[in-house]
């Protein structure tokens, strides 16, 4: 039953994203930026998906520290890995966009730097997990580190409001930006598609964490014999 739901979600995500590719291809180029502006339809939803993943991971890590239940730890690592992939896609698309609009692939402004630091922190979280053998110690240290890593997320989000950056100011959830309603709808649908894809990826990754726990338990059994 669980697998059927996952397949259904995966197919729904693919249908939504395929429909959006068709709609985005038919849109005219933006007046000032031309065709490259359309990259916003992936760049922004990928960032929002990564933020949702980071927030979920934070909640799961806090829950683990409160309850010491390993299912929360497994959930935190699964969702963090998926969020890292989406943040990576966001950074790469942003860099390609910048190469056309700014004439440079990268600049050390607050938004870009804090987003890169965020990626590195979550990559560090995954590396930390590989470095610790003992499961309880690994989960506890990783949960504490995860809470620390999340401190960077509000900085990434609000940096374009708090500082003057090379990165453009806020377009969504802001009185300063403007975006046509029909374009906003395509962007929101794309976000829903990516979110569904993220949920499916997290569920598959979570199943692998359960396999890993089964392996740990079989190893303990083998040692005891």
């Amino acid at each position: 039953m669980r697998d059927k739901i996952l397949y259904a979600l995966g197919i729904a995500a693919m249908v939504i994203l395929a429909r959006d590719v068709y709609l985005i291809a038919r849109l005219p180029g933006e007046a000032a930026q031309g065709a490259i502006f359309k990259i916003i339809f992936f760049h922004v939803p990928a960032a929002w998906t990564a933020i949702v993943a980071a927030t979920t991971s934070l909640i799961l890590s806090i829950q683990f520290l409160r309850t010491k239940d390993f299912k929360y730890d497994a959930g935190a690592v699964a969702v963090t890995e998926v969020g890292l992939a989406f943040l990576g896609a966001n950074l790469v698309t942003g860099s390609i966009w910048g190469s056309v609009i700014w004439g440079i692939w990268w600049t050390w402004d607050v938004r870009l730097t804090s987003a890169l630091v965020c990626w590195l922190l979550y990559a560090g979280y995954l590396m930390l997990r590989h470095a610790i053998e003992e499961p309880t110690q690994r989960a506890t240290f990783a949960a504490v580190f995860n809470i620390f890593a999340f401190l960077d997320v509000p900085i990434v989000y609000f940096s374009i409001r708090w500082f003057r950056t090379q990165h453009p100011g806020p377009v969504f959830f802001s009185s300063t930006g403007s975006f046509p309603t029909d374009w906003t709808m395509i962007l929101l649908w794309n976000w829903i598609g990516l979110l569904l894809l993220g949920i499916v990826m997290t569920a598959v990754r979570l199943r692998q964490e359960n396999f890993q726990r089964e392996i740990d338990s079989l190893r303990r059994e083998a040692h005891a014999l």
């Binding site: 065709a35 990259i39 998926v82 992939a85 390609i96 598959v204 083998a222």
Partner: protein
């Protein structure tokens, strides 16, 4: 009005300007294609990585179970 403005604008452009503008538009479109491709490649690599890991984990479970069964028989 829009047509007149465009005609006047084009009348001032040299053939070199038109070539440069076409090249800019093409580069713009190329980078967009590369951007979308790169994003999907990252996600596809992640999925492939997960598929590979799942296979490895299943093989480990099978071999550990076989080893345990063998030890219990002894």
């Amino acid at each position: 009005m829009n047509l007149l403005a465009h005609t006047l604008l084009l009348a001032q452009a040299s053939p070199d300007d038109v070539v440069l503008e076409l090249a800019r538009l093409q580069r713009n479109f190329d980078r967009l294609s590369w951007g979308f491709l790169a994003a999907w490649v990252i996600l596809a690599l992640f999925v492939l990585m997960m598929v590979g890991r799942e296979g490895r984990l299943k093989r480990q479970i099978a071999s550990l179970k076989a080893m345990l069964e063998e030890r219990q028989k002894k």
